[in-house]
């Protein structure tokens, strides 16, 4: 019983990371209609920035989150304005191709800068935690989940309450109509991509404390973000939160609770659930009707 609770907790904690990764991905997909294959690359840039600040200036990984997010926002804004904007109305194949290329550039630049050595952020409190009746709650992971949920709340609030958020939602709903009422499309696109990149940076900061990173370590996260967004449904932050936490729990339980099969089946089971969800609710668990 303790073990089951522990596994559930671990699933929720890793789910928090998936939420953080998927928020930006979902926003860009929903508003720009771009499946951003460079998202994992942006996540790893965030992880390297966190590592750099930690190892060179001893900045706590959680304190560096705003700095990393701001840096990634600038990168995202510029990349969108200069590159992605050129294919914004092109068929999906071109946007996939371009973002795939951007991802390769990111990986190779990181390789040049940092080589393929493994890095990780290990602050002094890493690994300490709370023990509740035999169930371990590692502080750093709990804080990671909290950051992910705060990030989700902040993005949701920003979209719902602020003027720019309203413009972003308007563009997501109907870009031509939004342009007619005076929204500067290029600026909104770039802003949205920048916010998406900033969210990726936050996720990268969390990931740098949880695992060893290399320049190509972001690739699985692009796939996971994709799955989370489809599972939860496109167009709502709350859907991404539900999708991410659910995916984390399902993955962890599948990995550990099916005796004899081994963790190799975890992905198969998680994706099988994805297929079932798509068959029963094609727009995802909480997707808006189109």
């Amino acid at each position: 019983m303790t073990l089951l609770v522990q596994q559930l907790v671990l699933g929720l904690l890793i789910g928090g990371v998936y939420v953080a990764v998927a928020i930006g991905f979902s926003l860009v997909w929903g508003v720009l209609n771009i499946v951003n294959l460079a998202h994992g690359g942006l996540v790893i840039i965030g992880a390297y920035l966190t590592w750099l600040l930690f190892s060179a200036f001893n900045v706590d990984p959680f304190l560096s989150i705003p700095i990393v997010a701001a840096a990634l926002f600038v990168i995202g804004y510029v990349v969108q304005r200069l590159l992605i904007n050129r294919v914004i109305r092109a068929p999906i194949f071109f946007t996939l191709l371009l973002t795939f290329g951007v991802n390769l550039v990111i990986i190779n630049v990181l390789l040049l800068l940092f080589k393929s050595d493994f890095r990780s952020v290990t602050p002094s409190y890493s690994g300490s935690g709370l023990s509740l009746g035999g169930v371990q709650l590692p502080y750093i992971r709990v804080a990671g989940l909290a950051v992910a949920l705060l990030l989700a709340g902040a993005v949701a609030l920003f979209l719902a309450r602020s003027r720019i958020g309203g413009a972003i939602q308007a563009v997501g709903a109907d870009r031509d109509a939004a342009q007619l009422v005076g929204v500067d499309l290029r600026h909104v696109y770039a802003l949205t991509f920048g916010i998406g990149a900033a969210c990726a940076g936050v996720a990268g900061g969390l990931i740098s404390t949880a695992q060893a990173i290399t320049p190509s370590a972001g690739e699985p996260y692009t796939l996971q973000a994709f799955v989370v967004v489809i599972l939860g449904g496109l167009g709502r932050v709350s859907a991404t939160v539900v999708g991410g936490l659910l995916f984390g729990v399902v993955e962890t339980l599948a990995q550990t609770m099916v005796p004899g099969l081994g963790a190799g089946w975890a992905n198969a089971i998680a994706f099988a659930i994805l297929v079932v969800v798509l068959a029963v609710r094609p727009r995802g668990l909480m997707g808006r009707p189109v």
């Binding site: 303790t2 073990l3 522990q6 596994q7 671990l10 699933g11 904690l13 890793i14 393929s116 050595d117 493994f118 890095r119 990780s120 290990t122 890493s126 690994g127 935690g129 023990s131 371990q136 590692p138 750093i140 992971r141 949880a210 695992q211 060893a212 290399t214 370590a217 699985p220 993955e251 962890t252 339980l253 990995q255 550990t256 081994g262 963790a263 190799g264 975890a266 992905n267």
Partner: protein, 414 residues
């Protein structure tokens, strides 16, 4: 036709003269100088294994400089200067096999040194066998290479099934003796081979394997499996996988307060990345290694261990110690050298027979091949990252430079 035969006659006459002159010049100096000995080397100069390939090449080149400074390799009084003919196989097995064929047929390589990695070594072994050219390899540890009955391929390194045996042998000598073991493994064939052998060996030594599981290669979220292992309360936690997974397991073990007396990972702890990633949390962790710069073997020829380390640092102008990839590659050269000296000949078949009966101690340890051609006589050494943050060789005791720091203290009291 006629013109051609005249030409070839002239050429042979010229060649004879040259050989005669060379011979007389050599005999005046005591030992003779024979033809250059061409050794073919397919190598990962580029491609995914370029980094490791570069290390292997360093090991080969280190010996090349040394042997040619001695005037070459001595076959029955005749010294042959050595030429290493490299070809870049791009880390790809099919290209490696093609280039091995080219090295033998076009470049007339009489002997071969192995490429980097099990996959390329396996494909080159086929070519060596077909052409009857002996290949000594240092960078392919999968037993699959040696289970095909090949007669011309020899591996100087300990095979995959030995990777964690040293750790288990060491565990049996510790006090209080651990009794239970959890074994995690990545799902690639090399890691599974290591894990299976470790499990069987542990059982045969009286340890109780209480938990085993495998995970997809490259997994970074292993907390769930570590929680499962913790529920069995094992004395020893062993992992057979790669660096990223070893880091993930160690982090999860601390997160979840899995308190084992001993943590050992097949790959990872020997690299600086492991210590850099984990900081003090890397302390007390054990790993298997083919060789360490601290081992205390007494070599019968070539350099002693400290001299080897010094020669490496001088040639490559570095303060880093040579990696075990470098050392094992140099060891492959030494096996070839000794076999040529024992055979008194550089003829492929003679060298092959001498390799089959070789038994020497080098700075890398004992080199002796079993009937399959792999060096099962050299033990893997066990390294531990101790509380000074440095790697120490802790087992076997006769080559160790420190005692194991055991048992690993609880996470909270570190």
């Amino acid at each position: 036709m006629r013109a051609r035969s005249v030409l070839s006659a002239l050429v042979s006459l010229f060649a004879l003269t040259v050989v005669a002159c060379g011979g007389s010049a050599g005999s005046s100096g005591g030992s003779q100088t024979g033809q250059d000995l061409v050794i073919g080397v397919p190598m990962s100069i580029t491609g995914v294994q370029a980094k490791e390939g570069g290390l292997a090449k360093q090991g080969y080149d280190l010996w090349l400089d040394w042997i040619n400074a001695q005037g070459g390799v001595n076959a029955n009084g005749t010294k042959h200067k050595v030429v290493l003919k490299y070809e870049d196989d791009q880390s790809k097995p099919d290209i490696s096999a093609q280039l091995t064929t080219k090295l033998i047929t076009q470049d007339k390589a009489q002997l071969l040194l192995g490429p980097y990695g099990s996959a390329t070594t396996a494909s080159d072994a086929v070519v060596a066998e077909k052409n009857g050219i002996p290949m000594v390899e240092a960078n392919g540890a999968a037993q699959a290479i040696f289970n095909n009955g090949y007669k011309y391929t020899f591996g100087v390194l300990s095979p995959a099934n030995k990777y964690l045996e040293g750790v288990i042998d060491m565990a049996a000598t510790l006090n209080p003796k651990p009794s239970t073991m959890a074994m995690l493994s990545a799902d690639d064939s090399f890691s599974l081979e290591v894990a299976k052998a470790a499990q069987e060996y542990a059982t045969s030594k009286g340890f109780n394997v209480v938990y085993t599981d495998r995970y997809p290669n490259g997994s970074t979220n292993l907390s769930g499996l570590v929680a499962n292992a913790k529920a069995k309360n094992p004395d020893m936690v062993l992992n057979s996988g790669h660096l990223a997974e070893a880091v993930a397991i160690n982090k999860a073990a601390k997160d979840l307060r899995l308190e084992a007396k001993l943590y050992a990972y097949s790959v990872g702890p020997s690299t600086p990345d492991f210590v850099n990633s984990l900081g003090p949390d890397s302390h007390y962790v054990y790993g298997g290694s083919q060789w360490t710069p601290q081992v205390k073997y007494k070599p019968s020829f070539y350099l002693s261990v400290p001299d080897y380390v010094a020669a490496y640092k001088k040639k490559y102008a570095t303060s880093d110690d040579p990696d075990y990839h470098v050392a094992e590659s140099t060891a492959a050269c030494l096996a070839l050298q000794k076999a040529i000296e024992n055979a008194g000949s550089v003829k492929p078949d003679k060298v092959r027979d001498a390799l089959a009966s070789l038994d020497v101690i080098t700075f890398f340890g004992r080199i002796k091949f079993d009937s399959r051609g792999i060096n099962t006589y050299k033990p893997m050494v066990v390294e531990q990252i101790q509380t000074d943050g440095k790697h120490h060789t802790v087992f076997p005791p006769d080559v160790a430079d420190a005692k194991p720091q055991y048992p690993t203290p609880a996470w909270s009291s570190r």
